[in-house]
Amino acid sequence: MTEILGLAADNLISPIILSFALGLLAALARSDLSIPEAVAKGLSIYLLFAIGFKGGAGVAAHGIDARLVGSLVAGLVLSALLPFVAFALLKTLTRLDTLNAAAVAGHYGSISIVTFVAASSVLTGRGIGSEGYMVAVAAVMEAPAILSALWLVARSGKSADIDAGLWREILLNGSIVLLIGAFLIGWITGEEGLAEIESFIVAPFKGVLCLFLLDMGLVAGRGLRQSRGVLGGGAIAFGVLMPLVGSMFGLGAGLLLGLSPGGVVLMMVLAASASYIAVPAAMRVALPEANPAIYLTLSLGVTFPFNLTIGIPIYVAIALALTGG
């Protein structure tokens, strides 16, 4: 326990977390500090490209692993399954109607790539290795949860507006394509390719992540300010409990698959994190009546900061304890 606390404290005073906190506080204090939309998108493209490429180069270096397929399947199953867990938990803890509960649940089956990036950076910082193909697992976990959420809605007799165009949008959304594409490029070009662009995607990575998290803090803070009162105590409790519950599923999957300690951590993080890009966009199209203030505030304003500050050190501590890593 004290070890977890020590880890958490260590984690809390890293430039990454403090940059997020700076953004959060600036937005809550109504400073006009802001990062232009285009720049924030540019930073996220950099992060996706770098994390994907490094994952692929990792696979190229360590050879393909029998657990790759298992991990991908586990990711698909977790993504499809967790919305049901989340839905049940929401129905217990909150008074959200089926539509909004299903919409929220869909977010928690899917993943937050920035949480994944932050966890990777913590692992790198502590010298804990992980399977490079976890970025591919992250990519496959984006979409299945949406299907589960829509199924939950359809089951209750409400209609969801889902057409072929939407599926294309979800499956070929920019983040997935870039992540998988960069992963493949890293895999194909391997160590040599990595050497060529290392000083672009490795050295400045953490600094770029700081600026990106500054922006995430600003966006989360603005969201929290605008939607004050939207979430009751039950919903907030859900936003903290659900990642812990999700991480246990991820832990189970990681241990069953026999992943490395770092791989187990990342599987926990994927299961614990909630989407705030791909899923909200899909929900606006398919379930326009669901209130975005609820799902965005929960995912971005509660669960994201929780994972970033407290969740990740907990997941690391548990995974290391159970894998003896």
């Binding site: 939309e37 890009i277 606006r284």
Partner: protein, 103 residues
């Protein structure tokens, strides 16, 4: 100059619906429109601004279509087939154009 009467239809719609509205317009024979970016706004669902958006889930765009008066009805049907369940605002006003053959 010889002027011709047309209708100017202005549609504020959520950004994720942009492609769907474009398609609906084109399929209904409205092939002339212009899309403007929107910085922020306020409505029954509260205030928002582009800065506060982490993703394309947020944000709006504004469509401007100039159409011949007799085609407005069909255009509005197309718009509402897409817009019905979504937030957004549609307004129609009169205006005049010079080169009428293109509307």
């Amino acid at each position: 100059m010889q002027m011709h009467e047309v209708k100017r239809v202005e549609i504020m719609i959520e950004a994720p619906m942009e492609r769907r509205l474009s398609n609906a317009l084109t399929e209904n024979g409205v092939t002339g429109f212009t899309i403007l970016p929107v910085l922020g706004g306020s409505g029954r669902s509260g205030r928002w601004s582009r800065e506060g958006q982490v993703s394309r889930a947020g944000g709006m765009v504004s469509f401007i279509c100039l159409v011949r008066p007799d085609r407005v009805e069909k255009l509005l049907d197309a718009v509402f087939s897409v817009l019905e369940r979504h937030i957004g605002v549609v307004s129609v006003s009169d205006c005049e154009v010079v080169r009428a053959e293109r509307f």
